[in-house]
């Protein structure tokens, strides 16, 4: 069964109030894969992550984790089922210090990293463990947001634009972290605008437009498809 997808999305429709924002999205991620969603701003990438997570509740279709439908679960059960979420806005809590932020999400399996391992991977966070969470730099906050879900033992990580607004040296650092996570067999669904960053880590790409999946291709075809992508993404 190793070829069965770990996370499987079928015919996903979603609405913000009256407005229909996802139109029959299909998506597969196998265990250990890193899959990247590409698309213009407003194409529905973040909405797809929020719908899988269950933050956006007005949905139809199927979302299966290891074959089990999680679409009907209450929000907190989705994380408990093994999905970790790193939101675009990072979601670091101002009223919690770094170490409280790190240990906030309850662990969902025994496979998570220990706090010691995490501080080894992110020495900056260890040094600033008593600082207020939002006093960290943007890059450190992003590291903290990623570290936070690594501790829980989530099977799949939904990562929304981790490099947005960060300096190149920090982007590279985050790339190293993702590579390390891949080596550990982590399954990652990444939303990313930064090609150069995504090509290093992604096994496959999906292309979204107007709330639909319009294309899917393996990572090594990225270079050959550059012209086509530039046209769709307008970059």
């Amino acid at each position: 069964m190793s070829n069965a997808p770990l996370l499987e999305v079928r015919g996903l429709n979603a609405w913000y109030g009256e407005s229909h924002v996802l139109h029959g999205v299909d998506l597969d991620i196998r265990e250990g894969e890193t899959v990247t969603l590409l698309g213009r701003n407003g194409a529905g990438k973040t909405t797809t992550l929020r719908s899988i997570m269950g933050i956006l509740r007005l949905r139809e279709g199927a979302i299966r984790l290891r074959g089990e439908d999680i679409l009907g679960l209450p929000l907190h059960k989705v994380a408990q089922a093994g999905i970790g979420y790193v939101p675009e806005e990072r979601g670091i809590f101002a009223s919690l210090n770094v170490s409280e932020n790190l240990t906030l999400p309850p662990t969902v399996s025994k496979d998570g990293m220990s706090v010691e391992e995490i501080y080894e991977l992110f020495p900056n966070l260890y040094e600033r463990r008593s600082s207020q969470g939002t006093k960290l730099s943007g890059g450190e906050q992003q590291m903290l947001a990623i570290a936070r879900v690594l501790r829980t033992g989530a099977k799949v990580i939904l990562l929304d634009e981790p490099t947005e607004g960060l300096a190149p040296v920090i982007v590279q650092r985050i790339g190293d972290v993702l590579t390390a996570l891949k080596k550990r067999g982590m399954t990652i669904l990444l939303v990313e605008q930064n090609f150069r960053f995504a090509r290093k880590v992604a096994d496959r790409f999906y292309l979204m437009e107007d709330g639909r999946m319009v294309n899917a291709f393996p990572g090594h075809e990225l270079d050959a498809r550059m012209d086509e992508l530039h046209e769709v993404l307008g970059v």
């Binding site: 907190h76 408990q80 009223s95 240990t103 906030l104 829980t152």
Partner: protein, 295 residues
């Protein structure tokens, strides 16, 4: 006899003590309101009724079951907290998605019903409730006599306030509560059962009001309207402290209690309005309250 600013010392310290006692109740009650408002975004108008219920629970436990003050100090908050949990589960939780005004109206209506029921059953007059044997009498502090029970109230409320503050600032449950106050959806997306956290928080807030009620029973009489009288002042305290600020609620509670006591000594005519005058000034100068954060 020694005088301070032309006031006899015993009178001055006596009023400060009364201020501290009132401040103890303001602090306990505004603390509960602040905890509830911070997380649930509901202005709990039933808070005064829950304080009254705490006092009545102690009175009824004693009258009908022979259960005395000390067990009541635990039992009454448990009972009132349990009732609050039922109210949250069956009614309040349905109002989270809508305008906060609905929560205010619901809790206001509940307060009217509860107070009306107890007035119907027990009349408007207060029922006496004796302080426990161990706390009867007074200490001579040298400069004044201090009734033991009143000293106990100040200490007990300080312990409960500090305990609640530690629970919120230093424990894992408190971290959930603080984080959910900032962004409940994200905390739930991390796997925390936020609906249950909301229920527990409302129960905790109501239990704090009930503790204040039991502590108040031997000082004031147990009466159906005891909550109505104090809750308006407590709302002013919460506004001065800053809606949703835990530490602000505690400090402002004691501070305004003492200030009210001092006003009784130096300018008695203003003692009933001094808290509201301060509220007006704070609203003019710092609309978010002394300890509140601008949103």
């Amino acid at each position: 006899m020694s005088t301070i600013f032309g006031i006899p010392a015993p009178a001055l310290f006596g009023q400060i003590l009364i201020g501290l006692i009132n401040g103890s109740f303001y602090a306990l009650l505004s603390l509960g309101l602040a905890v509830i408002f911070g997380l649930l975004r509901i202005i709990n108008f039933a808070h005064g009724a829950q304080y009254m219920l705490g006092a009545f629970a102690a009175y009824l436990l004693l009258t009908y079951a022979g259960i005395g003050y000390w067990p009541s100090l635990i039992l009454a908050p448990l009972l009132v907290g349990l009732l609050a949990v039922v109210i949250e589960k069956t009614m309040l939780s349905r109002l989270y998605g809508v305008d906060p005004l609905y929560g205010l109206l619901l809790t206001f209506g509940l307060a009217l019903i509860l107070e009306g029921l107890f007035r119907y059953w027990f009349g408007a007059a207060g029922q006496p409730y004796a302080a426990p044997q161990q706390l009867v009498g007074a200490y001579n502090l040298g400069f004044m006599f201090m009734p033991i029970y009143r000293g106990w109230v100040v200490i007990a409320s300080l312990v409960v306030c500090i305990g609640t503050w530690l629970l919120i600032e230093k424990t894992r449950l408190g971290a959930y509560l603080r984080a959910a106050t900032e962004n409940a959806t994200l905390v739930q997306a991390f796997g925390v059962n936020v609906p249950r956290l909301l229920t527990l928080t409302y129960g905790l807030g109501a239990a704090l009001a009930a503790i204040a009620g039991v502590l108040a029973a031997p000082i004031y009489q147990v009466s159906p309207l005891m909550g109505t009288n104090i809750i308006i002042v407590v709302f002013a305290v919460v506004v001065v402290g800053g809606m949703g600020s835990i530490l602000g609620a505690i400090i402002t509670g004691y501070m305004l209690g003492v200030l009210e006591g001092l006003t009784k000594v130096f300018y008695p005519e203003a003692s009933n309005i001094v808290i509201f005058v301060i509220m007006a000034i704070v609203l003019l100068v710092r609309p978010a309250g002394l300890f509140g954060r601008e949103e």
